[in-house]
């Protein structure tokens, strides 16, 4: 480990935010094409968080969410995570599979997951969604930096937000006491939140990223 999070200056944080902007912009475009609807995104946030706060960050640690998780390998390593609320995932699946949104049987107030069951094909559709989003995010990141970055096949978990978020957090636990990530929220139409996209490079990879962009030498 050559850097600590505290050592990032505002300029470097801006660069990381811009990375999130470009990557997520491409991913949002890919998503919009897939579901044939307008997809907006918020300005990415670069956050440093202590572990204590981490499992509260996605609207509460117990909120049931769909998490799509994949690793980056190549010149930079780390994790990519796309987190959707269950009902947003249901909406997306229905659109992707050409089902009527009326069949939405997902009740977000109900923490019982049996109300929100995804069959095998639907799970596969969600994974494919993760694949396409992460693929477009990574390829734009790769073009921008000239670095070789490869995503793994995504894996899916439907569970408490805290439990899912702890997976990349543990990786950070090995080297420090806080997590740094680049978060972008996706929104469909005017108000419907779709999900959050997290880019979580390993500590060493931040340096590689910033070097490739000529920010640090």
């Amino acid at each position: 480990m050559c850097m600590s999070f505290g050592s990032f200056n505002n300029y470097e944080i801006d660069v990381l935010r811009e990375i999130g902007n470009i990557g997520a912009g491409n991913a949002a475009t890919a998503l919009a094409k897939m579901i044939n609807k307008k997809v907006d995104m918020e300005v990415p946030e670069v956050k440093v968080m202590e572990f204590k706060e981490v499992n509260e960050m996605f609207g509460g640690a117990e909120l049931p969410v769909v998490g799509l998780f994949l690793k980056m390998t190549g010149d930079i390593t780390g994790s990519i995570m796309f987190i959707l609320e269950n009902n947003a995932a249901r909406t997306l699946v229905n659109i992707l599979m050409g089902k009527n949104d009326e069949t939405n049987n997902c009740n977000s107030d109900e923490s019982d997951i049996s109300n929100c069951y995804f069959d095998e094909i639907e799970m596969s559709a969600l994974k494919e969604l993760g694949n396409i989003l992460a693929g477009s995010y990574i390829s734009s990141l790769s073009t921008l930096t000239g670095l070789n970055i490869l995503p793994t096949v995504p894996d899916i978990a439907i569970d408490m937000a805290g439990a899912i978020i702890s997976v990349p957090a543990i990786e950070f636990g090995k080297i420090g006491d806080s997590v740094l990530y680049i978060e972008t929220a996706f929104i469909e139409g005017e108000t419907r939140a779709l999900g959050d996209f997290f880019l979580v490079p390993d500590m060493d990879s931040y340096e590689v990223l910033l070097k490739a962009l000529g920010v640090i030498s």
Partner: protein
């Protein structure tokens, strides 16, 4: 519920009766619940990693299973617990994603649980029950009145251990 104390990730708390210690959304992390029935003293730790000796950076002792158990026992004794009466319960240590390209990160849950058992045995603290492993998250709460550890899950029900 009176006097509910929340335990965050990489955090630990000890308390005198009456208190309910709760930690939300345990994934691969392990929740270590300690209880002394004679005084009603409780302690709960939410640990992320098995072994502090393999880390260069040990500023937060609650992050590691080994250091957290040591500290938690000390904190409970400081609150009046009877060291020889402390018993333990474990929950968590799941594997949230089943990667085919499994690295050590993916088995971290199992390693956390094993480390906890090892440490408890070393300290001669009896492990009376556990709900560990699987691929799902857990929310656990420890009640000082009964010593019951309630484990809540999504889709796998609620149980008391």
């Amino acid at each position: 519920m009176e006097n509910t104390i929340k335990v965050g990730m990489a955090d630990m708390q000890a308390a005198r009766h009456p208190a309910v210690l709760i930690t939300l959304g345990l994934g691969s992390c392990v929740g270590i619940a300690l209880y002394d029935r004679t005084t009603g003293t409780v302690g709960l730790a939410h640990c992320m990693l098995p072994d502090s000796t393999q880390s260069k950076n040990v500023t937060n002792i609650a992050k590691f299973v080994d250091t957290a158990i040591d500290a938690l026992v000390a904190n409970m004794v400081a609150l009046g617990a009877n060291r020889s009466k402390i018993v333990a319960k474990l929950a968590g240590g799941a594997q949230m994603f089943n990667f085919s390209q499994s690295s050590d990160l993916m088995k971290i849950g199992l390693r956390n649980v094993m480390a906890a058992k090892e440490k408890l045995e070393q300290l001669k603290i009896p492990l009376i029950s556990e709900d560990t492993g699987g691929n799902y998250g857990r929310t656990i709460s420890l009640d000082s009145a009964t010593g019951i550890l309630q484990v809540k899950t999504i889709g796998y029900g609620i149980k008391e251990i």
